[in-house]
Point group: C2
Chain length 205, copies 2
């Protein structure tokens, strides 16, 4: 039997027992960069890793030095970075990656990368680094860690007339899904653990 | 017998056989930053290491986006970096350091560092990184790699009323001298090799 309450609402439960949505929708609209920065701040505060975003390089043209106050940049231009955006250290491993978002829902376009980023990832990989791209499909709210080795291969194939994008199906095969949680929301170090295990030749499948 | 030539100058030798100075004085006045950048470019080109200087972080206030041309920063301020200036990878090791110059000739003043840099080095050290300060005594043209562990100890002692500087004699004991050469001029990876050996507990003295 349904009881009809005067105000048309059901009975209010005490605050503690109110059902919580299983997923946190609060930061659905966060940019991938903001999400990664939040994860990095959490990992740093909990002594799990030291990973930072590099500042955007700027070409200074005119700087004023007013008396008794801070220098003011009056004319400057953004430069293209010569490396990836993020690097740092985790459990003794050198971590290096770039983060990319796409609105596509079936594939990730390679035009999001530049030659110098691919070269940088290849150079770091050669030195034994843990290198990857962190890809977000914004419309699917899906995240994949794509190992740099696969990215470099796809890039080289493209140069030889191959595909201009990596199909989502391929990403599901060769990439590592990044799970969402609460602290931090974007738990990408768990995916990094799997990549480290792979690079060591350990089969964690 | 001295021959007096009409124009008062001695005989000109052919260009090839002119005596060359044994040491290249051309870049004596180079800043430490320029020297390190040159070394890093050489190490990168020869596949020895991938180490870059991080761009200076800038707080953007006003950016113009003129039609059909690049965005122009019209007002911005320099921010204090939250990390050290240099990091990268070398033989699988995460490398992290800051570079400091002093005009002193008997000691290195700790005021050249900031708390956040010390904290960052300590956090990277805890993760297993190879962390240090690269110190140049400009008037002595002497360079030392100071392991972060020693820097952190000196910093903590200073906070407890200890010395405000590290004597050069101490640097000679606990630091590793960085040799000058031709390619690159500042051969700091050789000093890093010694630091790695120390951290592994291998005695290379």
């Amino acid at each position: 039997m349904t009881i009809h309450y005067p105000n048309g609402q059901g009975p209010q439960r005490p605050a503690q027992s109110r059902p919580q949505p299983a997923v946190n929708f609060a930061d659905r609209g966060m940019s991938l960069e903001a999400e990664i920065n939040a994860s990095n701040a959490y990992y740093l505060a909990t002594n799990q890793a030291v990973i930072h975003k590099k500042p955007t390089p700027i070409q200074l043209v005119k700087v004023d030095y007013p008396k008794r106050s801070a220098a003011v940049v009056r004319e400057a231009y953004f430069r293209r970075p010569s490396t990836t955006d993020y690097n740092g250290i985790y459990h003794g491993y050198y971590i290096d990656f770039d983060a990319k978002e796409t609105k596509n829902v079936t594939s990730f376009p390679l035009k999001n990368f530049h030659q110098h980023q691919i070269d940088h990832l290849a150079a770091c990989l050669k030195q034994g680094g843990i290198c990857f791209a962190l890809i977000k499909f914004t419309r699917l709210t899906a995240y994949y860690l794509l190992p740099a080795s696969h990215l470099i291969t796809a890039w080289q194939k493209q140069a030889q007339g191959g595909k201009h994008s990596i199909p989502l199906a391929t990403l599901k095969q060769v990439g590592i899904p990044v799970q969402l949680g609460l602290h931090p929301r974007l738990q990408y170090l768990s995916a990094v653990d799997q990549l480290i295990a792979r690079q060591k030749g350990v089969n964690h499948e």
